[in-house]
């Protein structure tokens, strides 16, 4: 089992490596530099700036430096926010994004599974159709439509929740953003759980379980649920990706100071190191999620990773 995990880890590292390298190259090759937008600077100052950021060195040397600093967790200075390094910006923003992201993920999983099981047990009845139709809506309606709408309903008309802004430690400001982030993954998880549970219930070992006189409750939770969750586990990594992209929009609209907003600002300002750092960070998170999913598969189905 351990060897299985190591193998997975081994596969992930080259991927990461490729991403970093590609990103680096793309940026360096790109037309125009980070200073093009600024007013025309006298050549000497430009040269100084370039050397300060290490841009006058040969490409492979820059690459080597970059890799080395990456290993130290240093993404370099931000091109725009001159007083901050990318690492500092990330450190500032990460807690906020992590908070809403993890909350959304847990909510989506927990609620989604419950709803999915509920719909499966009432297959083809009114409750099932309602739930599944709502699920399609949840998947199709984009988060940048949902959040303003929710804001309109709950913030402007009903005055229950704040529409935007943020104070440290405040939960109220996070409610609408988290809801907006949760909807699409929740819908997916519900659909997946329902379909998968219905399929698992057709399998022979479920018939055996019923033949033993076990109540429905036991058959579902002890026998059917774990194999039924395999597709949900498979969706975890895309769910994380979906929440990460959603956070870009949600943080921008709601004015939350998370890394999502930094990413967007960085893109608009053409802040190379910031965006590059973000891409690396998001990739690491995603790859990490993928590894966790592999571990999860092994728990859900003991046959995985079992060497005969």
């Amino acid at each position: 089992m351990f060897r299985y995990f190591l193998k997975r880890l081994g596969g992930a590292i080259p991927t990461l490596f490729i991403i970093v390298t590609l990103s680096f190259l793309l940026i360096r090759i790109a037309p125009g530099g980070p200073f093009d937008e600024e007013k025309l600077l006298p050549p000497e100052i430009l040269a100084n700036l370039k050397s300060a950021y290490g841009l006058d060195q040969p490409l492979w040397l820059q690459y080597a430096h970059y890799l080395r600093s990456l290993l130290h967790g240093d993404f370099g200075p931000s091109f725009r926010y001159k007083d901050f390094t990318v690492t500092e910006l990330i450190a500032q923003g990460l807690p906020v994004t992590a908070e809403i992201g993890i909350a959304a993920l847990i909510l989506a999983l927990a609620l989604g599974m419950v709803i999915g099981v509920f719909a499966a047990l009432r297959q083809n009845r009114a409750a099932d159709y309602t739930v599944m139709t709502l699920a399609v809506l949840g998947i199709a309606v984009p988060s940048f439509v949902v959040l303003p709408l929710l804001g309109l309903l709950f913030g402007v008309y009903a005055h229950w929740l704040p529409v935007a802004g943020w104070e440290p430690g405040s939960i109220r400001h996070l409610i609408l953003p988290v809801v907006a982030l949760t909807l699409a993954p929740l819908a997916y998880v519900a659909r997946l759980t329902r379909g998968s549970l219905l399929e698992v219930l057709q399998r022979p070992f479920i018939r055996t379980a019923f033949s033993k006189g076990l109540p429905l409750r036991t058959v579902i939770f002890r026998h059917a649920l774990r194999p039924a969750l395999v597709p949900v586990a498979g969706y975890l990594a895309p769910a994380v990706a979906s929440i990460m992209t959603g956070s870009l929009v949600v943080e921008s609209i709601a004015g939350l100071p998370g890394i999502g907003r930094y990413m967007v600002q960085g893109a608009l300002n053409r802040d190379y190191t910031l965006v590059l750092g973000m891409v690396v960070l998001y990739s690491v998170v995603l790859i990490g999620a993928g590894l966790l999913v592999d571990l999860l598969y092994a728990w859900l189905d003991p046959r995985v990773g079992f060497e005969r």
Binding site: A209, L214, P215, R226, R303
Partner: protein, 327 residues
């Protein structure tokens, strides 16, 4: 025939029908079967796939999907169980009335340890604690002659061989001292050598406890080695039923006779031509017209294609449904 005290049959079905709605009508998997199994008796039920033999007993156990329309009556130890609510049925299923399935790899839950799958029966039916239940499970594994049972309890189904898995399933069915065990093709998914072992096991276990068995199979040879009586099914109905020895010696229905010849029996001289059954049994969706076996029967006449023969008593112990039985 001596009259025994408590002659109430363990299982008695009357005109059980199983229908499934399909576009354009219904498909009849079981077309009206009445049989009974006495205490301590082993009834063999033989038929090809599609004959309804499995569907019949799944209906009795309440394991068919909600789309199935079941009519008729089935009484287990005097109590009507067809149409019983699941909570009520669950008292009986798994304890007094148990089932052993065909493919033990697919029929055991892959992510639960053997010990858990055995113990949960006792925990649910006897209210035992998990610890006590596992101890009893250990004894059950002994009973079905699984070596090193303590280790096996902690293993998963995929870590056991096919034969061992089937022993586990049999052990599982015996945990609560059942009155009737329904064994659906218990050996079909196993190697030939293992098949014999399992049949021996069933025989030995029964000798000790005396429960009834229904042994379902497409292989008459398997059934003959264990059963006291045999019922032959074709296209959803019983076409013949007789004590085993009598059937093997003097099969009356042409279909039974053909089945007999297909059984590989080392004691009989090898003929140079193996008889084979041409054609196919009618599917469930086809309506009945006359005797279902007529198209394939070497003895069929005009009458057979119009008039369905009823299942009639031939003597005190046997019945056959044929206009022109062999004897």
């Amino acid at each position: 025939m001596t009259v025994r005290p408590a002659a109430r049959p363990t299982l008695k079905t009357q005109e059980v029908r199983v229908d499934y709605p399909i576009p354009g009508g219904t498909a009849a998997a079981v077309r009206g079967v009445s049989l009974s199994v006495s205490a301590q008796e082993c009834l063999g039920v033989v038929g090809e796939s599609g004959s309804g033999k499995t569907q019949l007993f799944l209906a009795v156990m309440g394991l068919l999907s909600s789309g199935a329309q079941i009519t008729g009556s089935a009484q287990f130890e005097g109590e009507e169980i067809l149409g019983l609510a699941p909570q009520e049925l669950n008292r009986i299923r798994g304890s007094k009335l148990t089932m052993v399935f065909q493919d033990p790899m697919m029929s055991l839950t892959p992510h639960l340890k053997i010990g858990v799958q055995l113990a949960e029966v006792l925990v649910h039916h006897r209210g035992a604690s998990w610890r006590d239940a596992e101890r009893t499970a250990l004894q059950a594994l002994d009973r079905v002659r699984i070596p090193d049972p303590r280790r096996r309890l902690q293993q998963y189904p995929h870590e056991l061989s096919g034969g061992m898995r089937q022993r586990v399933m049999i052990g599982m069915s015996l945990l609560c001292e059942p009155s009737l065990v329904i064994a659906d093709e218990p050996t079909s998914a196993l190697d030939v050598t293992v098949q014999a072992q399992i049949l021996d096991l069933l025989r030995d276990v029964r000798a000790g406890t005396g429960f009834s068995i229904v042994l379902i199979s497409h292989d008459l040879g398997v059934v003959a080695s264990l059963a006291d009586r045999v019922a032959v099914m074709y296209a959803g109905r019983i076409v013949e039923s007789a004590p085993t020895a009598e059937l093997m010696r003097d099969a009356r229905h042409p279909y039974s006779a053909l089945l007999m010849q297909c059984v590989s029996d080392l004691r009989r001289p090898r003929t140079d031509r193996m008889p084979f059954l041409a054609g196919q049994a009618p599917g469930a969706a086809e309506p009945e017209r006359g005797c279902a076996f007529a198209p394939r029967c070497p003895r069929s006449t005009e009458r057979c294609t119009h008039e369905r023969p009823a299942l009639e008593d031939v003597n005190a112990t046997s019945q056959v449904a044929c206009h022109y039985p062999l004897r």
